[in-house]
Amino acid sequence: MRDVAVIGIGCTPFGEKWGSSFRDLFVQAGTMALEDAGVAGEEIGAMYVGNMSAGRFIEQEHVGALIADYAGLASDHIASTRVEAACASGGLSFRQAFIAVASGIEDIVVAAGVEKMTDVGTGASVDALAGAADREWEGFVGATFPGLYAMIATDYMNRYPLTREQLAEVAVKNHYNGARNPIAQFSQEITIETVLSSSLVADPLRLFDCSPITDGAAAVVLAPLERAREYTDTPVRVLASAQASDTIALHDRRDISTLDATVAAGKRAFAMAGLSPGDIDLVEVHDCFTIAEICAIEDLGFCRKGEAGRLTAEGVTALGGDLPVNTSGGLKACGHPVGATGIKQVCEVVQQLRGEAGRRQVDGARIGMTHNVGGTGATVAVHILGV
């Protein structure tokens, strides 16, 4: 097992990109990442592509090969593999790329994520996203994805001190950060009233508690640490890579409000890096819904169960706080092109650790974490990066 570094990153602007196709989006992100790394195409040994549901969104499977082809790499016949775990597809793509480099099988590997969601209508995309949960025993009876997280929120708010206003603070904070991120889907700050007056989607979650439907792609280039300086003056080390699973259906979990897969992946990541929560300077967590960020902060060990709402309201997780959470704007404000999200999280942390995050820079950030969830917590990927 060799040490691995991120040597280049690229990310398209996120949003409703009607003019861009699936392959256009990837080419844009991939080109940026290679340019950032100063890597020539022919040096790439393999690619991993995180994508949830191109089969449903654009009727196209086999997107690993598609993307290697449109990246101009077909004649090199590089290995290109699609990895899928719903909303955690990007995180798993990064992990597989990490394993490929760490093992010595490959030197230069691209980890990418893409989702083109706006080629179908809202009803169809809600239905495609429900494929992240248990189609036979959740989707069949009318459970939507926001509905499942809403049931987590109901359970959580019944057992722990979390007010509706504190939950809204998560969205307010993430929009504040998103307004400082040039690639974010939403560039407007919002207030608690914006959230509380938005329409109910699944009680108690309102429209502004939910991440949007987004098109986007992101890519990063990995290399063995010992070769990273050939390409960049600012390599970012991968200190830990961890993955965990849990029951596909929310109703089968040990505890509705604790994502045990987050707990497991978090512990494994800290153990691998030899670090503890106090060592983390910033974290990108999977805030597909506001309640998800609350659970993530706790389940990763940054505070005790039931405390995250208060800490959020106190500004601890804000840009200037002790533990900035979702400086990118998170899934909520930066947008959530499902398969791309896990890679975008890595891009954000790398930008922060390089000191290139502009108006949302966390001063002196040296260690960052990413947390990417599939479904309601059936898959979780956690990575720790450091300089």
Binding site: G123, D127, A130, G142, G147, A150, L200, V201
Partner: protein, 131 residues
Amino acid sequence: MSVARFWRKIPQRYNLTGTRCATCGRYFFPPRYLCPDCRRAGKIGEHRFSGMGKVVTYTVIRTASEQFEQMTPYVLAIVELDEGPRLTAQLVCSPDEVRIGMRVRPVFRRISADGESGVIHYGTKFAPENP
């Protein structure tokens, strides 16, 4: 939309037929044919649940997927059956009525209608035990 996929589960969805591991005594609904505790040593048999249980958590769905659009708003809950297993189901009650811990009983209802094929899916919903 597939037909076999739904036929296959009719006994389970109509009659709440799940499974039970005779080795450790654990009940499964939705049914499992491999006991997570006993694994290959587990002896799995069928079990028909009474369907009596209580609400663990719930929500009110206001924005649904296409098949359920005309039913909104509807109450969706995780119900814990008295034998232990939990399942996701719609509740036949008003959004104001539902409470965590509320006792419920099973009722046989139309779950959804598939617009394209015209197939109507039936299954079990739950109603307050004492309305």
